[in-house]
Symmetry: C2
Subunit: 215 residues, 2 copies
DNA sequence: GTCTATATTTCGATAGAC
DNA sequence: GTCTATCGAAATATAGAC
């Protein structure tokens, strides 16, 4: 799987800090293992080994495997929503959508495992976070659709379906995380360099921004 | 999971036909179960129940769970490659890439489970089909990149990175299969209607074809 | 709070009658 | 080729000493 990592430093500290540190180590290890093996393929033993803890300690902090998984998925969802900031208060589509692409591509680069856990959860019918899809995500989506529609009505961009544009933004940016292994294999087996990431970002932005600009 | 389905009809027929029918029923059930539960989450019992067969019969046709899974993934890969036909011998980018988008969107609509199994396999590091990525897929990709580059050199489209354009095509079209559950939830819980599928197709084609056309 | 040892369940795979 | 019954391995979860 991967070598043990993220051992919490053993400095004298408050119990609260120790607890927070252990929880964080467990969550980080869990995110990696769930991303690499899926929920069904992941075992508590793998997560414990990666976190450098006995298996029983995981059950002390999180009652069940599903409980731990739920926390991992929720953490990821927070990160998704934060990228929305780029969208709001933007004066025009190029700024708003271009900034959103930048933010989402950066998340794919820095949190590929989180993206994979989310993708896996949704692909399997969202058994754990269905309520989030129906409440928070739906509200967020409706809000962004309204923003895009206003741009269209103002003649600032072409009259395309805002909803499907959003899906395109999610798909293209998350592809570099979810299918990162395939991208790397087709890149000669080497991870994308800084320049190659920039090319990816520029290509996505150029095609989409040119694709939606007013005729 | 899902109600049993795809019982082979019990007509008098040759042994070969009976075998082919049973194998097909197993593969269809396996594709559904692997898509819904992932490799680790799937059990031979689930697949057997869905196929309407005793669990032992699965091991008669496929020695191990991994052997069965391998066949499912290979079947999907064939379908991907067939969509390449739209690409070749096209006189211009709009025809070639537009046709490819149509073909891939149609695959997402008709074979969402296959797409999910492929996505899951790649997300987990392609443990089973890594050799396909490094041989067949790499060759296919290099060939398509050459075609696109020729269009660019001929001034028929904008000078964007052909490789990342391909990734965009894969991402946007497969999103409607892999994230179909999310798309359906954001569609009010109802599957996309025929008209909504057409809107999705048109939006993807319009944005990408406008995004790459020569300036 | 942490750890070792173990109970309990579940799953992949097989044996063997038909 | 098909099925019932079962083995053996592996995983989740817990008990209980420290």
């Amino acid at each position: 799987m991967a070598p043990p990592t993220a051992q919490p430093e053993k400095r004298p500290q408050s119990r609260q800090a120790a607890r927070a540190q252990t929880e964080s180590a467990i969550l980080t290890a869990a995110q990696t293992v769930f991303a690499e093996a899926g929920f069904g393929g992941a075992t508590m033993q793998m997560i414990a080994d990666l976190a450098g803890l006995p298996k029983a300690n995981l059950h002390y902090y999180y009652a069940t495997k599903e409980d731990l998984y739920r926390h991992v998925v929720q953490d990821i969802f927070e990160i998704w929503l934060d990228a929305a900031a780029s969208f709001d208060h933007a004066p025009d589509p190029a700024t708003g959508i271009g900034g959103y692409i930048d933010a989402k591509m950066e998340i794919s680069r820095r949190h590929p495992n989180g993206s994979k856990v989310w993708a896996s959860e949704v692909m399997h019918g969202a058994p754990v976070i269905q309520d989030y899809l129906e409440s928070t995500l739906r509200d967020w989506t409706d809000g962004r659709i309204a923003v895009i529609q206003k741009w269209i009505d103002a003649g600032q961009m072409a009259p395309i379906s805002p909803r499907h544009l959003l899906y395109m933004l999610w798909a293209t940016t998350q592809h570099y995380a979810d299918f990162g292994h395939q991208v790397q294999t087709l890149n000669g087996g080497k991870p994308l360099s800084k320049a190659e990431w920039q090319t990816a970002k520029d290509t996505v932005k150029q095609i989409i921004l040119r694709g939606i600009r007013a005729a």
